[in-house]
Symmetry: C2
Subunit: 336 residues, 2 copies
DNA sequence: CTGAAAGCGCTTACAG
DNA sequence: CTGAAAGCGCTTACAG
């Protein structure tokens, strides 16, 4: 596994040129004779030579690498991470790779593995932080890191001091409300955190209630009971809602995981979806599409989200795009 | 964003020692006076100094980084990647981080972004390749890369020349068969690729049919029709199976995504699950748990898989653990 | 226990 | 267009 790797000096010797010429030829610097360049390329190929990225990065003071931190729930199994974040990770990876950059990922959940030194150590040129906003300790840690001068970009809305980007939540909430009202629903509930530090849930609720108000409908607001994860919270919330408002005929859940839990709760209670109760989620996760019926949802443009996050992290030194909204659309499927 | 970072010389000056002493103190080298060490640590903290990983890696010839490549289906949206691979990615990340290593991830799908030079460039110390075995071009590329001397570890069974690790598929197939027979099923089908290069599907089928044979039951074998993804293949396979064998009373699908598609197809055809037809999948993806009814499945121990893959990639220079089987268990939920 | 110095493998200003 | 040389920021053998 450990044959000493060839260096640019080995390539130089084989090509019969100096080491500096090898470097120039391989970096496509201007002013290298075409024939020389070809000879160097051939020698490099024959030797299986690849530029040492550490030496190169050290010299250039840039690593062409982006660090992506995903904040997890403490104790959460890695395979249980909200699939929305995995999907966002995928779109960030695509945007990173399109720029020829590498992506360093890190899942963090507690003081035992909090780390924000990717940029400080030169490992990465910029950092993006995504993941659950429910992990207070993690966000306090990153707030402290930011206070020391480290700039990074967040998805969601963990708090005011951060540079962030998030879905156009208000518009999404409005789309959900309009769709439910247009399909004849009148006793409409919002299931989602009301007193959370997570601004995006407030925005979804506010956009939703504002649109309902325009139709003269006051929403039923349901705070999901505490539970192991969003799905379990949704199940419990459905039962609580039905107990307090048996005549509810539509529900907008603040996230798909919550909505999938609500769907299960409604079925357990013998309610038919969408005949008895219509249901709309938020996020567009794939599992929603495989639910029965398939979950109608507000779907952010994930490709746009990944692209915008990476662009802001890598190219927008002053974070002038902080606060940008990612467009959402209503994806009508089976539940509403 | 670009204040010049402090170096070990800056720390040395502040602590009133030489640069070499700073390096030793910070690396916890033996033979550094405790008081000196403390002074250096304090100076580093005050300056916000972090060791430059490129300089360090260049000197040490080791990057403490693992590269993880996920092979995708060409044209596939990043958010549509089989969630099993995201879950595996998560468990690999956990095992990597437990060793204090960094994880570099790369999603690859076509010649436009094939890359295997993470180790050759010094960026990573080892490489793991996971993802769909259906992308022939990708695996040909990695086979060629391996032929040039690059060693890496794969999940699944893309082909014989690779060092691999995979689920105990045969045992899993047997568990599925025994469970179906024990619950009284007799007209039992296997839905999964029969003529694929993907050994793990063969193994699941073989373990399944062998166990069925012990009960004197011949299986109905169904090759899923070509479709956009496994889920769509499952839907189509269910319809094809019902057309050919209307009296089928149990199905074992080669993967959860396939099973979820089968479940949808069965519902479309008006069959009740599990009353009319029992269904078992393979993989233990989270979406299966949220299906209605929740999908009974064969679940590999993902934590063990991540740990074993990372250990083999990082610590097993001769790949002596190639061929290791990850244990699986039957997770009985709603569909069987 | 500590310091001066070499060297890891590059990139590029400088000189020709 | 090409080469000799400096220097990126570390780690560690060598000397004291």
């Amino acid at each position: 596994m450990k044959t000493p790797r060839p260096t640019s000096f080995d390539v130089a010797e084989r090509a019969g040129v100096s080491q500096s010429t090898v470097s120039r030829a391989l970096r496509n610097s201007p002013g290298v004779n075409a024939e020389t360049r070809a000879r160097v390329a051939a020698a490099a190929r024959e030797l299986g030579y690849v530029v040492d990225r550490h030496a190169s990065s050290l010299r250039l003071k840039s690593s062409e690498t982006l660090a992506l931190v995903t904040v997890c729930r403490p104790g959460e199994d890695r395979s249980a991470i909200n699939p929305f974040y995995f999907a966002l990770l995928g779109s960030i990876a695509a945007a990173t790779s399109a720029r020829g950059f590498n992506l360093l990922v890190s899942f963090q959940e507690s003081a035992a593995n909090f780390r924000a030194d990717f940029v400080a150590s030169g490992l990465a040129d910029a950092m993006i932080v995504i993941g659950t906003t429910s992990n207070r300790a993690a966000w306090d840690y990153f707030a402290a890191a930011q206070a020391t001068g480290l700039g990074f970009v967040c998805w969601g809305s963990p708090g005011d001091p951060f540079h962030w980007m998030r879905s156009d939540n208000g518009t999404g909430g409005g789309l959900a409300a309009d769709h439910l009202v247009a399909s004849g629903r009148r006793r409409i509930a919002f299931v989602g955190p009301q007193r959370s530090p997570q601004r995006q849930f407030d925005e979804r609720r506010e956009g939703f209630t504002a649109a309902l108000a325009a139709h003269g409908i006051p929403p039923i607001l349901v705070e999901p009971p505490a539970a192991a994860d969003r799905h379990a919270q949704g199940v419990a919330a459905a039962h609580a809602l039905l107990a307090a408002h048996p005549d509810v005929d539509a529900i907008f859940a603040a996230s798909d995981m919550l909505a999938l839990g609500v769907l299960q709760g409604l079925k357990e209670a013998g309610r038919r979806v969408p005949q008895d109760i219509a249901l709309i989620g938020f996020d567009g996760i794939r599992a929603g599409n495989m639910a029965d019926p398939a979950l109608t949802t507000i779907e952010p443009d994930l490709d746009a989200a990944g692209e915008a996050l990476v662009a802001m992290a890598l190219e927008d030194d002053d974070f002038t795009h902080s606060g940008t909204r990612i467009p959402v659309r209503l994806a009508v499927r089976g539940t509403a």
